[in-house]
Amino acid sequence: MSRDVTLAGVRHAFVEAGTGRRVDALAGIDLTIAAGELVAVVGPSGCGKTTILHLVAGMLTADAGEVRCGGTPVTGIGTDRVLVFQDGALFPWLTVLENITFGPRAQGRPLDPALLDALGLTGAEARYPKELSGGMRQRVALARALAVDPDVLLLDEPFGALDALSREQLQGVLEDAWLREGSGRARKTMILVTHSVEEAVRLADRVVVVSPRPAVVREVFVIDAPRPRDVTALGEVRRAIGRAVREG
């Protein structure tokens, strides 16, 4: 089952480590992500994009405004909304298979065996995270999140640290398995934070541009093109998004 996510007038400030100053990260975010929709959030670095994901994940609490998932206010961390961390946050003491089985095991459910194949991890089950390339690590992170079959998948620059080729491959994996019509899987609601306009245009149904800190939603672009997309053919919208990001 897919669920929608809404943020209404969400404000958040954090206390800066060291100086003890209060820094406004979000200054009233209004955003609705429909059930089964993939929304990309782009904006300058350090603008609070990650804060949005942590609020939806329930790892942070809004100072004002409301975050709802499927109509219910978000009050804490839950397996219905799973975050894929920027660096993967894999458990280094567990093998690939054990990492992926972590969630199902905690919930006393079996692992969907098709997942390993879908993410190209067959054959790597017994390896430890430190033995993996960056691209493989992010595949495991994605598989681990998908293994608990969340309604909402939160992606925090999951391909940000990868080389161009791995990045392209992983975008393809996500696209093939969870975005294309007739892939046989129910589409999940996804929020993708990225600094790559190209990635946003390739994967998202809508691209939300947020301003520099304190962040507000600056502009929203609808990407209405069939998948798989030829990003070079979407030059116009890419340039428009790029302009919106630069102008903040």
Binding site: L83, A106, Q107, R144
Partner: protein
């Protein structure tokens, strides 16, 4: 010519230095008093053989190893939980920071007079010195290891539906650091052994070392020092092997 392996270079250097010492001693030292105070490697080897034959060396090693095991063991049993608690409550850690910083630079031998007053002459006083020195190291190492558990791993585990965060995340995440702290604690116990056996021990490697002066047998001191070095090294190698085995993912 093929390059020498590091092991050959390392042990070759030790052998060369011993050879130089033997040769230099035999050719340069003519004064018998100097010869007595600075025994040759061959003299030390003979002394070692004699001490091994009459059982003195083995008895000393067994007694000292037992003390180290008991002292370090107590330090680990107390120090690992204490370090974990300090790391879990940062305010407690901050409060204890200053006293620990003040205590750490005081050499263990400085505690000998007080521990003698408190525990009297005997095994308890020796264990107190060993355990206290090792405890400081184990607490500090464990605190760092537990405080260093990435918060993202705890969040990720909760996000995946795990409730037993301590067992399933904190313990394995901190394990490599705690293992290193234990190893360092055992090393410290060997390091302070002589201070611990300084006054009140009747048998042990530290005693052997101190006896060299009393009996005017410096070779005995050298044997004790060599045995102490070997014991420390062997223990550390064994612990390193265990560490590799139990933390294979690192």
């Amino acid at each position: 010519m093929a390059p020498l392996s590091p092991a050959v270079t390392r042990w070759g250097l030790v052998a060369a230095l011993l050879g130089l010492w033997e040769l230099g001693g035999r050719t340069l030292v003519t004064d018998p008093r100097t010869a007595l105070f600075l025994p040759l490697p061959s003299t030390i080897a003979l002394a070692a053989a004699a001490l091994a034959r009459d059982g003195t060396l083995l008895a000393a090693i067994v007694r000292s190893a037992g003390r180290v095991a008991a002292g370090a063991g107590a330090a680990v049993l107390v120090g690992v939980p204490v370090g974990a608690v300090i790391a879990t409550w940062p305010r407690l850690g901050a409060a204890l920071d200053a006293p620990l910083r003040l205590v750490r630079p005081v050499p263990p031998v400085a505690w000998v007079p007080l521990t003698l007053l408190w525990f009297g002459v005997g095994e308890r006083q020796q264990l107190a010195i060993l355990a206290f020195a090792a405890l400081l190291v184990v607490v500090a190492g464990t605190t760092d290891a537990v405080a260093g558990v990435p918060p993202a791993l705890l969040s990720a585990a909760r996000n995946l539906g795990e409730r037993r965060l301590l067992l399933r995340v904190a313990v394995p995440a901190a394990l490599p650091g705690v293992a290193a702290a234990v190893r360092e604690g055992v090393g410290t116990a060997w390091f302070v052994l002589v201070a611990a056996e300084f006054v009140s021990a009747s048998e042990g490697l530290g005693v052997l070392i101190l006896e060299g002066r009393d009996l005017l047998e410096p070779a005995r001191t050298f044997v004790g020092m060599g045995a102490l070095a070997a014991c420390g090294a062997v223990t550390d190698l064994a612990l390193a092997a265990l560490q590799r085995r139990w933390t294979r993912w690192t």
